[in-house]
Symmetry: C2
Subunit: 168 residues, 2 copies
């Protein structure tokens, strides 16, 4: 089966082995986790992001859109679309802030809370099983390292692509 037609392309650049790149490792780990949660969410017509939003609202009460975006770690445009959909489904409610008509206050409805009550047990059970298998202590270590990485990266300046510094 080892036909001679398959010549190996020369890798001239000494780059890190592909699978060892940090973004790939993080992506794979995350996908491995989400793979277990998606079926349960899907059974209730919820995407991962919609679930994040409902949980964030249940935990924090009424908050502004921008703050919700920060909590649920979503970009504005995604959040706008999802909120429109969740509002149509009566899972959340919105109201303008009287003192500043630019601002939008979002809150979860009773229906939304009820949905969380239905989904949460399964979700928690899955998370619990993961914790048990991986080890609570090790999981905490992983969380700590990820947080440390985050802080480390925030402190790292956003490297410009420009080779020359335009400042005189």
């Amino acid at each position: 089966m080892t036909s001679a037609t398959r010549s190996r392309a020369p890798a001239k650049i000494p780059m890190r082995d592909f699978s060892q790149s940090l973004p790939m490792s993080l992506l794979r780990a995350r996908e491995g986790v989400m793979r277990h949660f998606r079926p349960s969410l899907r059974a209730h017509d919820l995407t991962e992001q919609q679930w994040r939003i409902l949980r964030a609202l249940a935990a924090s009460g009424e908050i502004e859109v921008t703050e919700l975006a920060r909590l649920a770690f979503l970009l504005g445009p995604s959040l706008s679309r999802i909120l429109r959909d969740l509002e149509e489904r009566k899972l959340i409610a919105r109201q303008l802030l009287k003192t500043d008509l630019r601002r939008n206050i979002v809150s979860i409805t009773a229906k939304g809370l009820k949905l969380i009550e239905v989904v949460a047990p399964t979700s928690e059970a899955i998370y619990g099983e993961m914790t048990r298998r991986f080890g609570a202590r090790k999981l905490a270590e992983l969380h700590a390292m990820l947080h440390e990485l985050e802080l480390c990266l925030q402190a790292m300046p956003a490297s410009d692509t420009d080779d020359a510094d335009p400042a005189d």
Copy 2:
């Protein structure tokens, strides 16, 4: 600043604090990393996924689409679209496998390799800076934990959502 209008919604479900969920931690860490790479890729009209594909091809030579999907950790539909685009840009080439016309062999072109040579130095510099700041040893530990998590999750059965077993 603590206006009385903001009533705190009762969190009836004792769920894990939102920001402590593993998917969120992984997502944030990954975004923190990618935030540094995206500008450089964007300067060369490359998305993160396109870059993954080019690197995978440069490292492995000619491979089939399915194998490329596995290497670059992309789903088939995404890969199909991206390959169509990269082929139009002459960064990759494709050929049907004569012995099995279902299969498609993909390879990187000279133009693709040249692009990698241009982008790689910046990319490696950023990665090097991250490694230096975070610590090479700690980074290796993180990789190890992520890999262990992956294996642990693969061994975990995909919990069915169904409460009842529909078999006979």
